[in-house]
C-alpha cells in the first residue's frame, strides 16, 4: 500500500490538494465563503492548458497567466458577491462559477463538452516548490498587518469599520490572493492529469476544497493543510470504495460539525506546538 503513496501522481495530487485547502482558507480568514472555487480553478486550468498545448507558450508564463486570471476572477466574484450578504454572497459566487463551466463547454478550441488533452509538464518537484512558496507566503500573511486586518474583519465588520478598515477593499484582496493560489492549483492539475473537461470543475471540486478546511480547521492555514493531507490519504486508502466518496464526505462534514466545529487544528493547537518546539530548541541549545 505504501508504494501507492509514493507514486509521482499521488504526490502531485497531495500537493495540489494542499494548495486547494490553503486557497480556500485565505478568503475564509477574512470572513468569506467561496463556493465559486471550482470556477477559479477551472479558468486557470483551461487558460494555461490552452496556452501551453495550443499556443506553445512556456510553462512558467502559463503558470503566471493562470494565477493572474484566477486572481482577477476571484476579485470579480468577490466584488459582485459583496453586493449581497453572507449566504447570498456565497451562492452568487457559485452561480458565477457555473457560468464559467458553461463557457468551457461552449469553446470549441478546447474540445467543448469532451474536454482536451493538455501536454504534461508537471513533476512532483514543481508541485512541491509551488506548495512550499504558497505556504511560506500564507505564513507571512497570517503574521502581517494584512493578516491581522483580515482577522479583524472576520470577527466583526462593524467594529473593524469604526477602526478605519474598509472591509470591502480587504475582502476583495483576500479573494484575489485565494484566487491566485486556486489558479496555481488549477494550472498544476491541468498539466499533471493532462486531460481536462468541463465537468471536472463542477461544484464537486468546491465541496472537496471546502471539506479540507472544514475537517482541518478554519482558524489557521495549517487546518487546510492538515485537512488536505488527511482526506487525500483517506481517499487513497479507500480507493476500493470510490463510488461511496460523496457519502464519505457527507458523513465527515456532519461528524466534524457535530463533534468539533472548529476542525481538527485550532489556533490554540498551533500555538501549543510552537511553544513545544521552542522548548525543544532551547533544550538542544543548552545541551549542545
Amino acid at each position: 500500500m505504501i508504494d501507492s503513496f509514493l507514486t509521482p501522481l499521488f504526490l502531485d495530487l497531495l500537493g495540489i490538494n494542499i494548495l486547494l485547502g490553503v486557497s480556500w482558507y485565505i478568503p475564509a480568514s477574512c470572513g468569506q465563503f467561496s463556493f465559486g472555487h471550482c470556477g477559479l480553478i477551472g479558468v486557470a486550468a483551461y487558460l494555461s492548458g490552452a496556452m501551453t498545448t495550443l499556443l506553445g507558450v512556456p510553462f512558467p508564463l502559463a503558470i503566471l497567466a493562470g494565477m493572474g486570471i484566477s486572481s482577477l476572477a476571484g476579485m470579480l466574484f468577490s466584488a459582485i458577491g459583496l453586493k449581497s450578504k453572507d449566504a447570498y454572497a456565497a451562492i452568487m459566487t457559485l452561480a458565477l462559477a457555473q457560468i464559467a463551466v458553461v463557457a468551457f463547454k461552449a469553446i470549441p478550441a478546447t474540445g467543448g463538452v469532451m474536454g482536451f488533452l493538455v501536454t504534461p509538464k508537471v513533476t512532483p518537484g514543481i508541485v512541491w516548490a509551488g506548495v512550499l512558496i504558497s505556504l511560506l507566503f500564507t505564513y507571512r500573511l497570517e503574521s502581517s498587518r494584512l493578516g491581522r486586518t483580515f482577522e479583524a474583519i472576520k470577527t466583526s465588520n462593524k467594529v473593524s469599520a469604526t477602526l478605519g478598515i474598509n472591509a470591502t477593499y480587504f475582502k476583495i484582496i483576500a479573494f484575489g490572493i485565494g484566487g491566485a493560489m486556486a489558479g496555481l492549483a488549477g494550472v498544476l492539475y491541468a498539466h499533471c492529469i493532462s486531460w481536462i473537461e468541463p465537468h471536472t470543475f463542477a461544484v464537486w471540486l468546491t465541496v472537496t476544497s471546502f471539506t479540507f478546511v472544514l475537517l482541518g480547521g478554519w482558524e489557521t492555514m495549517w487546518g487546510g493543510v492538515a485537512g488536505a493531507i488527511l482526506l487525500t490519504f483517506l481517499l487513497e486508502v479507500m480507493r476500493f470504495a470510490s463510488a461511496w466518496r460523496p457519502m464519505i464526505y457527507g458523513v465527515l462534514i456532519i461528524a466534524v460539525l457535530a463533534f468539533r466545529p472548529t476542525g481538527l487544528v485550532t489556533r490554540g493547537n498551533v500555538r501549543s506546538a510552537g511553544r513545544f518546539f521552542s522548548r525543544i530548541n532551547r533544550f538542544m541549545l543548552r545541551n549542545r
Binding site: 494584512l146 469599520a161 478605519g164 478598515i165 482558524e219
Partner: protein, 250 residues
C-alpha cells in the same frame, strides 16, 4: 469640532432621534444622558455612520460627513467605542492594538514584503506600548481578551481608539459593568485623554461619573434634546428631573 444639526432617525414608525442639534467644542468633555431608550446610542451610531440618518447634517472639523461610510469617518478622527464593542478574540491585546491605523497603503499587499515600512511598524509598536502603559495595561499586552477582566477590556477598547489616532471619542457607556475602583481609574483615563487634547463625547448611566468629569451635558428624552448645560444646571432643571423621576401624575 462636531456639529450635529437637526438630525433625525426613524425605525419604522418609531422616532429614535428627532431633530436633535448638538455642538461639541474642541477639548471639552461632553456628556449625553437620558433614560433608557432616549436615543443616546442611536445618536452615536448616526455620528459614526454605523447607522444612516434620515434627515439633518453632521459636520466634523468644518467638513460635512453625513454621507461618509463608517471607515472614512474613523479615518477623519472620530473614534467610536460601542456599548457592546469587542476586542478581537483571536489576537493578543498587543495585536489588537496593532490592527489600528489601517489604511489601504500601510496594510495592503505591500505589507507582506519583509522590512517594508519597518520604521513605521517599529514606531507603531512603540506607540502601542506607551498607550498600554498609559492605561495601566502594559503588563497584560500578551494576554488574550478572555484573560482580561471586564474593566480592562473596556479600557483596552478606549486605548485602541487612542492608537487609531482619534481626536474625538464617542464613548458609549464605558463604565457599564465596572466596579467602583475600575470606574475611578476610567475617570482618570478620560481626564488624562482630555489633558492630551482629545475631545470626549460620552454616554453614561452612572451619573456620579458623568457629573464628576463633564464640562457640559446634553439630555435626551424620547429622541428629543430636552436640555443642555453644565452638570449643576442639568441637575436642577425641571424637565430633566421629570424625565428621570417622572411627575406626580406619572
Amino acid at each position: 469640532m462636531l456639529e450635529i444639526k437637526d438630525v433625525t432617525k426613524n425605525f419604522g414608525g418609531v422616532s429614535a432621534v428627532s431633530h436633535v442639534s448638538i455642538k461639541v467644542e474642541k477639548g471639552e468633555i461632553r456628556g449625553l444622558i437620558g433614560p433608557n431608550g432616549a436615543g443616546k446610542s442611536t445618536l452615536f451610531k448616526l455620528v459614526s455612520k454605523v447607522l444612516k440618518p434620515d434627515g439633518g447634517a453632521i459636520s466634523f472639523d468644518g467638513a460635512v460627513i453625513t454621507g461618509f461610510p463608517s471607515y472614512r469617518v474613523a479615518r477623519l478622527g472620530i473614534g467610536y467605542v460601542f456599548q457592546d464593542s469587542l476586542l478581537f478574540g483571536g489576537m493578543t491585546l498587543f495585536e489588537n492594538m496593532l490592527v489600528c491605523a489601517n489604511t489601504a497603503v500601510n496594510s495592503g499587499l505591500l505589507s507582506l514584503i519583509p522590512l517594508y515600512q519597518g520604521k513605521e511598524e517599529k514606531r507603531l509598536k512603540e506607540r502601542v506600548r506607551d498607550v498600554l502603559e498609559q492605561f495601566n495595561l502594559g503588563t497584560k499586552a500578551e494576554f488574550y481578551p478572555r484573560q482580561l477582566s471586564y474593566g480592562d477590556q473596556r479600557r483596552a477598547l478606549i486605548a485602541r481608539t487612542v492608537i487609531n489616532g482619534a481626536s474625538l471619542f464617542l464613548l458609549d457607556e464605558p463604565s457599564a459593568g465596572m466596579n467602583a475602583i475600575e470606574r475611578e481609574e476610567l475617570s482618570k483615563d478620560i481626564l488624562e485623554m482630555r489633558r492630551q487634547g482629545h475631545t470626549i463625547f460620552i454616554v453614561e448611566h452612572n451619573l456620579r461619573l458623568i457629573m464628576g468629569i463633564c464640562d457640559s451635558i446634553s439630555v435626551l428624552n424620547f429622541g428629543k434634546l430636552i436640555h443642555e448645560g453644565t452638570p449643576k444646571e442639568v441637575t436642577s432643571n425641571a424637565a430633566v428631573i421629570e424625565a428621570y423621576i417622572g411627575t406626580k401624575n406619572g
